[in-house]
Symmetry: C2
Subunit: 199 residues, 2 copies
């Protein structure tokens, strides 16, 4: 499908039919998400993948009882990783492992470190969360491209997710994207006029 | 092109060749951006489109002298719109104009108003900015789909952009996406391993 068709076909699915997406399709989706761009290529995000019924049921009440949580195939919990300096170290190592000479990337790595050091913890989190939303769009478009459905969701208690999923300290559950096969129908798309958005 | 190919082909162009993108292609891109999803469908963003040389040259020094600013065809300045309550009013009117009965959307509109009222000005801005990053990904993938190039850019002085572009009070320049035809070549994509990102 062309991008235009994907963009038009995608919609926020309110209920899934419970059918499980084959693992090879899920892996294809993960690859589309993994390749999303991030600022400096720091990739300050991770995705906790929830498939078991019991965990979904625990998450349901801290997600405003929204049915997508319990009816989806896979619940993707997009987490911002606020350990930016740790990620810069990791990226530096991987750039060198991929063939870059330490000398040639020194300036770039220093720029990233200075950037990371200049952020307050709150700013680091917000910055990481913005990058998450780019990857989220790949998840949504990717689901449509691969023949299933998705729903972006901000309505959940991030602190409760942290506890239930036993997330490490550096991760903050930031936005959800349950995926599965829709059990509902899309409404017509309503958007503000072009003249109201572009000027 | 398939989504996978778009995702793999897109890269952050460091320099454009100055050629102007035909207006019909630009309009197609705007449509892809316009259709991006946002939380509650509130669409808290606007894009200032800069094409004239003189404005680009004014923006160049407040964009860390990055060549994309002066060599691109169109500079898309993605702005977060922090007047969330105003947008909810607008959306309510448009939903009714599109055929919804005021009664049927009353609960939904109230939920949006309560959400908006619960945000501090800082929280409203951050929330709007996150939505902007979803639209930004449509811009990047859309550019590749339509045969040109793009570069997401956070390195600029938002307050100076506000002055130079005479932006209204409710808009905050949040991320840039210059578009045009690349005068450079992509480097190989480097990403963290799947096991490091999905767990």
């Amino acid at each position: 499908m062309k991008l235009k068709q994907l963009v038009m076909k995608r919609y926020a699915t309110k209920e899934f039919d419970g059918k499980v997406i084959p693992q090879d399709k899920v892996n294809e989706l993960f690859e589309l998400i993994r390749m999303a761009p991030t600022s400096f290529n720091i990739q300050p995000w991770k995705v906790k993948v929830v498939t078991d019924k019991m965990t979904k049921e625990k998450l349901f009440p801290v997600s405003w009882n929204q049915k997508q949580i319990t009816t989806c195939s896979h619940l993707l919990v997009f987490c911002a990783d606020n350990d930016i300096l740790g990620l810069v170290d990791k990226l530096e190592k991987e750039m060198i492992a991929a063939g870059a000479s330490p000398e040639s990337i020194k300036g770039y790595v220093q720029m990233m470190r200075d950037f990371a050091k200049g952020l307050t913890p709150d700013q680091a989190l917000v910055w990481a969360q913005k990058q998450v939303y780019i990857a989220l769009e790949n998840a949504m478009l990717g689901a449509t491209a691969l023949g299933f459905d998705s729903c972006p969701m901000e309505g959940f208690n991030s602190a409760e997710y942290h506890k239930i999923l036993k997330l490490p300290k550096n991760l903050v559950a930031s936005v959800l994207c349950p995926i599965g096969y829709a059990a509902d129908k899309p409404l017509p798309k309503l958007r503000f006029k072009k003249e109201d958005l572009f000027f």
